[in-house]
C-alpha cells in the first residue's frame, strides 16, 4: 500500500485542480467497482453494488475522502517576473519560507520574502513571492490565477511516513485500498473522492446531494496531542485510527460513532476517540445534505497537518482499511 500512498501524495492537486489525482485513483479502482462517474464539480463517484445477504438490510453508504490539497494561487505578476500569490485553503505562512512549489505543467518555483523590517517579524503572505527563475517578465509563461502546490517527495521512515498532502490523500489511499480488498458487501457503497474540501467542503456538499446516502463516513486526518508541548488532546500516532466525536464543524452521529467503535472492538483493532478543537471534514457538509444523513468520521492521526511534511503511522492506516472492510461486510447498526 506504500506505493499507492506515495503515488497519491506526490500527485499535483490544489483545490479546483484535482485532475491528476482523480486519474490516478480511477486507474487503481477500475475493476474493483461497478460504475464510476465524475460530477459537475469534478467529484469522482464510484459505486460498488451490494450483493443481497439474508438477514442484512441493505443501506446506501457513502465514504468520502478529498482529493484536493492546500496550495497557492498567483495574484499578481510584477515587472521583473516575480509572482505574488494568495493562499488556497489554510496555508501557514511559516511553512512557505524556503519551500518549493510546483505548477500543473511541472514548472517549479521557490518562495522568497521581502526583507522584514524587524528580523523576528512573523512572515506575511502578502510580503512573499514565487521566483520561477524567469530572467524577466517577457520570458514568463505564467498568468494570474495559476495554482501551485508544495513540492515534496514522500519519505518512508519505517513505521511512519512523512509527505505533503496526507491531508487527505491518505484518506484517498484508504478508500482505494478498501475498494480493492472489499470482495462483497451487502450494501451499495459509494466511494466518493471529493474536490475543494480545503476551500469549504464544496465537493462533499454537491456529491452528497447526488448520492443521497443513508449513512456517510468521511475518512480524513486529525491532529494529535503527542508532540512536545502540544495542545492537550487525547489522540496519538500509532494508537489506532481515531473515531470522531466532535470537531469544530460537526458532532458525529452517535450511532455511527458507536458502530465504528463496536466494529473495531469486534475485530480486535485498536482505536481512539477524537475531539478536535479546530478544523472539520467533508462529513460536516454531508450530514446536513437534503433531510439529513447519519454521518461520522474515521480519522488518521497526523502530525504537522497543513505543512509540507505531515506524518502518519502506517499501522493506523492499515487498521483503518481493516476497520472499513469489516464495517462494510456486516449490517449497519446505528
Amino acid at each position: 500500500m506504500k506505493e499507492l500512498i506515495k503515488e497519491l501524495t506526490e500527485a499535483y492537486g490544489p483545490s479546483g485542480n484535482e485532475d491528476a489525482v482523480r486519474e490516478t485513483i480511477k486507474r487503481h479502482i477500475a475493476g474493483h467497482v461497478s460504475e464510476m462517474r465524475v460530477d459537475a464539480l469534478g467529484n469522482l463517484i464510484a459505486l460498488k453494488k451490494g450483493q443481497p445477504q439474508s438477514g442484512i438490510e441493505p443501506r446506501k453508504i457513502m465514504l468520502a475522502a478529498h482529493m484536493d490539497e492546500i496550495g497557492v494561487i498567483v495574484s499578481q505578476i510584477d515587472e521583473k517576473g516575480f509572482l505574488r500569490f494568495a493562499p488556497v485553503g489554510g496555508v501557514n505562512p511559516l511553512t512557505l519560507l524556503g519551500s518549493r512549489v510546483i505548477f500543473a505543467d511541472g514548472m517549479i518555483g521557490v518562495i522568497g520574502r521581502e526583507r522584514p523590517e524587524k528580523p523576528d517579524e512573523f512572515p506575511k503572505i502578502e510580503k512573499m513571492f514565487i521566483d520561477v527563475g524567469a530572467p524577466d517578465k517577457e520570458h514568463l509563461t505564467r498568468k494570474v490565477g495559476d495554482m501551485a502546490a508544495f513540492l515534496r517527495p514522500l519519505a518512508d521512515l519505517g513505521q511512519r511516513l512523512t509527505a505533503k498532502a496526507f491531508d487527505d490523500r491518505i484518506g484517498c489511499a484508504i478508500l482505494v485500498q478498501t475498494a480493492q480488498e472489499l470482495e462483497t458487501t451487502p450494501h451499495d457503497v459509494y466511494f466518493v473522492f471529493t474536490v475543494q474540501e480545503e476551500v469549504g467542503l464544496r465537493g462533499a456538499l454537491t456529491s452528497a446531494f447526488g448520492v443521497e446516502p443513508d449513512v456517510a463516513i468521511a475518512v480524513d486526518i486529525t491532529t494529535t496531542g503527542d508532540t512536545p508541548e502540544a495542545y492537550p488532546m487525547a489522540v496519538s500516532l500509532g494508537a489506532g485510527p481515531a473515531i470522531k466525536v466532535k470537531d469544530r464543524g460537526m458532532l458525529a452521529h452517535p450511532g455511527v460513532k458507536n458502530w465504528l467503535a463496536e466494529t473495531a472492538e469486534r475485530l480486535g483493532l485498536p482505536y481512539q476517540f477524537e475531539v478536535l478543537e479546530a478544523g472539520t471534514t467533508d462529513a460536516m457538509a454531508i450530514q446536513t445534505s437534503r433531510a439529513g444523513v447519519a454521518a461520522g468520521v474515521l480519522s488518521i492521526p497526523t502530525r504537522y497537518a497543513h505543512t509540507p511534511s505531515e506524518m502518519v503511522d502506517y499501522n493506523d492506516v492499515q487498521n483503518a482499511v481493516k476497520l472499513l472492510v469489516g464495517l462494510l461486510s456486516g449490517p449497519v447498526k446505528i
Partner: protein, 345 residues
C-alpha cells in the same frame, strides 16, 4: 445606459428590493417569455431558447445594496441604526440618507471638529455611537415619519462625469451594474433557455441566489457583478484588484467560488477573438452569488464576470461605461458559443 441611472437611484437594501425589482420588471417584461417572483423576492425571468437544446443557463445579478436599518428611536427623536451588509464605519459620518417607503430625508450627524479633543480626531467613530437626525425634537414626532425596522439608503444622485472612459458616479453599482448588463442581454434570443435571476440578499449571505439556483436547476451559470476596483495610487506591488477602463474582470477564484475552468477559458478565448479588453480579478478576494449557485443540488459549473467599480460598499461608486458595454459584449459573444461547450468529464 439610461437604465443604469434608474437602477442606481432605486432603493433596495437587502430584504427590501421591491423598488429595484419594479424598475427591472418594467424594462424586461416585453423581452422575456415568463417571469415570477419567488418566496424571497428573487425575480426569475425565462427567455426561451430556439429549441435546439435542452440546456438551461442561469445568469444572476443581485438587486440588493448595502444600507442601514432603523433600530431604535431615542426620546429626543434621533434614530439609532445598524448597517445591513458590510459597510466601513468610516464612510458613514456626515452623509445624507433617505428613510423608509416615503424617503424621509435625514443626515448622519458628526460632532464639529472644533469641539473634538485632539485625540478624538484620530479615532474611528463606531456606528453604534452615531445617529440620524431627521429634524424632529421628540420620539412622537419622529414616529409620525419613520418607524423602527425602516430601511435607509444613501442619497446619491447618478451623474455622468464623462471623459475618455465615460465615467459615471452613483450609488449601488454593486450590483446594479450587473443588473444593467443582464437587462441588456435579455434583448437577444439564444439557442438555450436563459434564466435571468435578479437576486435578493446577496449582501447578507448570497441567500437569494441559493434558492433561485435550486429552483432553476441550471446546467451552467454566470454571475454578473460590480466588483472591487482598488486602483488608487499606492505602492507598486499592491494589486488594484481590478483597474477602471481595462474591461470586464474575469474571476478565477474568490472567497466563494473557484470558477469553472472551461467557462473561464471560453470567456478568455471569446474576448481574444473579438478584441474585447478583459482583465483578471485579483484572486482570493470577495464573494458573489456564484458561490451559492455552483453548490446548488449536484453542483453547477459557474463563472463570474464583473464591471470594475470603484468605492463599492460606500455611499458613492464610480464606473466606466466602456467597461459596462464591454461586459455586455463579452457576455453576448460568450453566450453565443456556450452551447457548444462540452461539459462532460
Amino acid at each position: 445606459m439610461l437604465l443604469l441611472k434608474e437602477l442606481s437611484e432605486a432603493c433596495g437594501v437587502s430584504g427590501n428590493e421591491g423598488a429595484v425589482r419594479q424598475v427591472i420588471l418594467d424594462a424586461i417584461r416585453d423581452r422575456v417569455d415568463e417571469y415570477r417572483t419567488d418566496a424571497l423576492g428573487n425575480l426569475i425571468a425565462l427567455k426561451k431558447g430556439t429549441g435546439k437544446t435542452a440546456r438551461k443557463v442561469m445568469i444572476a445579478a443581485h438587486m440588493d445594496e448595502v444600507g442601514l436599518m432603523i433600530m431604535h428611536i431615542e426620546k429626543e427623536g434621533s434614530l439609532r441604526f445598524h448597517p445591513v451588509g458590510g459597510i466601513d464605519d468610516r464612510v458613514l459620518l456626515a452623509k445624507k440618507v433617505l428613510i423608509g417607503e416615503n424617503k424621509v430625508p435625514g443626515v448622519i450627524g458628526a460632532k464639529p471638529v472644533h469641539l473634538l479633543e485632539p485625540k478624538a480626531r484620530e479615532q474611528v467613530v463606531k456606528f453604534k455611537e452615531m445617529s440620524i437626525d431627521i429634524g424632529v425634537s421628540s420620539k412622537e414626532e419622529a414616529e409620525r415619519l419613520v418607524k423602527v425596522g425602516d430601511y435607509a439608503v444613501f442619497d446619491v444622485p447618478f451623474v455622468e462625469l464623462g471623459g475618455a472612459l465615460r465615467t459615471v458616479k452613483g450609488k449601488a453599482f454593486d450590483d446594479r451594474a450587473g443588473c444593467a448588463v443582464l437587462v441588456e442581454l435579455l434583448r437577444d434570443r439564444y439557442p438555450f433557455d436563459l434564466y435571468a435571476a435578479f437576486t435578493v440578499q446577496e449582501e447578507v449571505g448570497l441567500r437569494g441566489a441559493r434558492v433561485a439556483a435550486y429552483s432553476i436547476a441550471p446546467h451552467l451559470a454566470f454571475a454578473l457583478e460590480g466588483t472591487i476596483c482598488d486602483d488608487l495610487p499606492k505602492k507598486g506591488d499592491t494589486s488594484p484588484t481590478t483597474v477602471l477602463g481595462k474591461g470586464p474582470a474575469i474571476t478565477i477564484m474568490d472567497r466563494s467560488v473557484i470558477a469553472d475552468r472551461r467557462l473561464v477559458e471560453l470567456l478568455i478565448d471569446t474576448a481574444e477573438k473579438n478584441g474585447i479588453p478583459y482583465q483578471f480579478k485579483q484572486p482570493a478576494l470577495g464573494g458573489t452569488d456564484a458561490g451559492a449557485i455552483h453548490l446548488s443540488r449536484e453542483g453547477v459549473p459557474s463563472a463570474v464576470v464583473a464591471v470594475p467599480s470603484r468605492y463599492i460598499h460606500s455611499p458613492t461608486s464610480l464606473l466606466s461605461l466602456n467597461d459596462l458595454e464591454n461586459t455586455v459584449q463579452l457576455m453576448r459573444q460568450t453566450l453565443a458559443r456556450v452551447n457548444d461547450l462540452d461539459l462532460t468529464r
